[in-house]
Symmetry: C2
Subunit: 409 residues, 2 copies
């Protein structure tokens, strides 16, 4: 992975950078996600290797941090891999959506994974109950939760397979824990290579590699300019990264939208995910001419596959577009990306950078994930917020509980 910044921090920032780097090194001791690349995955690999070959669908009951990561990786790799099993997600309480999903699966060939860190997630448990009422065979279920949660106790009481989420790993930072690795391994995704990608970025950052100064510079620029550039757009030129941008939106928004420490001030950076070239026809106008409140990060895939060429044919009256003839779609999409980068740089007031991953594979998306997790931690530290909590979502949960309790009376 390469990352090129087209903006500069003009001040001498060596002191800030050193302080920031040391803080993150300190954080690494008690925030669990940093060390996931070196975890022991042998029990997950064993489970996947010996898994019932009749099972053709893996269905996850999970939402937010319990679904977005695995979904991002699975949908990125799906077009290039012959998956062992299909991966599906129940993430909604919408009855139309639930009944549509149920129609799609053959229960006899399906294994269910219940993922909830707290074990109390309303969406997850309500849909799980709906299915469990129809099928109470304990070997139809794998449960992934925190050690000691009520869901942990439930899993033990029915004797289903159980994996733990390390207690120091937060939901939205948990994709490289059992939360993501178990469903992905069951589909045949190479989770070793995934972690290898993450490890590469980890090493480059913590051991003075190329990515260290880039990430520090980028984080400082985003934090220093958070008032003006309050929206951080991720523009990925690959249809397969659609759900990766959704994962990014949760990671960034839920981590960086906070009340500041020892303060009453609301602060936040707003994430937006876009897909190129499609969203050139949707969102680009706003970036180019609208309020100067957005930074833009482009993601490009260096080596596109398969090789598909625009045929060398001339159509009557459409000769002007013969300029496209003989060009590979993979080159076209990258030229489209380069053209938009150039157009943005000409505008001068839009902070732009470019991430290039070599190809569609496990290692590349592992790199992207760890890169964004690090960037989030760095910016959160500079904004003087608690990157890892989400107190703002509690109020709505309490109100819902009151409404439900009233119904029962």
């Amino acid at each position: 992975m390469k990352n090129r910044l087209y903006f500069n921090n003009l001040d001498n920032l060596e002191n800030i950078k050193e302080e920031l780097f040391n803080s993150i090194k300190e954080e690494k001791k008690y925030i669990g996600y940093y060390n996931l690349p070196k975890q022991d995955i042998s029990s997950i690999l064993e489970y996947a290797d010996s898994f019932d070959r009749k099972i053709k669908n893996i269905v996850v009951f999970g939402i937010g941090g319990s679904s977005l990561g695995a979904k991002a990786i699975y949908s990125f790799l799906k077009p290039i891999k012959d998956m062992k099993r299909r991966l599906l997600f129940f993430e909604s309480t919408d009855p139309l959506n639930i009944s549509e999903l149920i129609k799609e699966i053959d229960m006899d060939k399906t294994h269910f994974i219940v993922i909830s860190k707290s074990g109390r997630t309303v969406e997850t448990i309500s849909v799980f109950k709906y299915i469990y009422a129809k099928n109470q065979k304990s070997d139809s279920y794998t449960i992934i939760t925190d050690k000691g949660s009520n869901l942990d106790r439930f899993a033990k009481s029915i004797g289903s397979k159980l994996f733990y989420i390390p207690s120091t790993v937060g939901g939205r930072f948990s994709v490289l824990s059992a939360v993501g690795l178990v469903p992905l391994a069951l589909c045949g995704i190479d989770i070793k290579a995934l972690l290898k990608g993450a490890k590469k970025i980890k090493k480059s950052f913590f051991e003075d590699g190329e990515i260290k100064s880039i990430l520090l510079n980028k984080a400082i620029f985003y934090a220093k300019n958070h008032e003006q550039y309050s929206i951080n757009t991720l523009f990925a030129y690959s249809e397969g990264l659609k759900y990766f941008t959704e994962w990014y939106v949760q990671l960034w928004g839920e981590s960086l939208g906070k009340i500041q420490k020892n303060s009453i001030l609301n602060i936040g950076l707003t994430p937006i995910g876009l897909i190129g070239s499609k969203d050139q026809h949707s969102f680009l106008q706003l970036i180019m001419e609208g309020k100067r409140d957005k930074s833009v990060t482009f993601i490009k895939i260096k080596e596109h596959k398969p090789t598909l060429k625009i045929p060398d044919i001339t159509l009557p009256h459409l000769e002007a577009l013969d300029i496209l003839n003989g060009i590979e779609f993979g080159d076209l999409i990258n030229m489209q990306c380069d053209s938009i980068i150039e157009a943005l740089l000409n505008e001068k007031e839009i902070p732009t950078d470019e991430v290039i991953i070599p190809r569609v594979d496990e290692k590349s998306i592992g790199e992207l994930i760890y890169y964004y997790e690090l960037l989030t931690s760095l910016v959160g530290h500079l904004l003087n917020i608690d990157t890892y909590n989400q107190n703002g979502v509690e109020a709505g949960k309490i109100i819902l509980k009151e409404k439900l309790a009233k119904l029962k009376r």
Copy 2:
């Protein structure tokens, strides 16, 4: 459709409202989308009625305004309707995506619709060429374009079926023209009911109905507060509205991100689409505690179908969640929505409103579409911008053309 605003314009605004209303009445004479609800659709209905019954896939080559609208309506209605045909979209130059889509379709049972207002869209024409090189039967294609475009001439030269987009209807406002109606009618969607929904909002707005003062109030509030509340979030509590939010993002962003008239000032309102309850676990934290730069509009469906109940079973150690037992998912999702609205209103600084549509059907989404088109026009007028152009996307197109030309030398 009901719309309830939880914010107030405190000033006396009768004069502004009257001026605004009169300007829109004036605009209605030359901006074409306003009058699409009363268009003659007999030729489209006839075409759909007599269409080859062997055809099972309708594939649209189109992007942005040529795809997002039909996609929004089709995916909203798909779970409740027995569609006559499947609707698919080629919207990308990503070779992996193109080859995946091709694998999914049986060419002999597929009809292709090429949609481009200008007839010059790079993505649309390049993928069309790719397919056309393999299949040159003119009756495999329907073309929808502006009268007099090169694509119009091409269609005539090969003798394929042709529909026009009225020249006064812009791409992102074109869903209720042939652009949306032809593919939707071929899938068996009731386009009469769709237009009926739009007509209802049109009448209510232009003939002093309930929606008139609500829309004027909302538009004035958004425009007056565009500096502080520069992000307008649409939070739809229905999985089926996922692509509707994408349609909204294009409509809002591309219309309202502009350089002001007779000025050099960049101005813009940023749209964000969210789906509930899912995104309570992703974006809600940022809305609740982050920077106070967001308004939120909730969309709720009054009558959910099918009836699915959370079973009345108690699971060991999960007794705390028995509070959900016996509740319909349709009631749960609406209670979740109400709980978040209440939580936001307690925060006081987050402008919130609520749109309720009666059910999942053609009429409801027709209402939503026309409501958002009107709101966009109203806000655009107040921001003193040209709502209907998109000059900002030209620079990138010119650079791409130069890059392509260089390759050919």
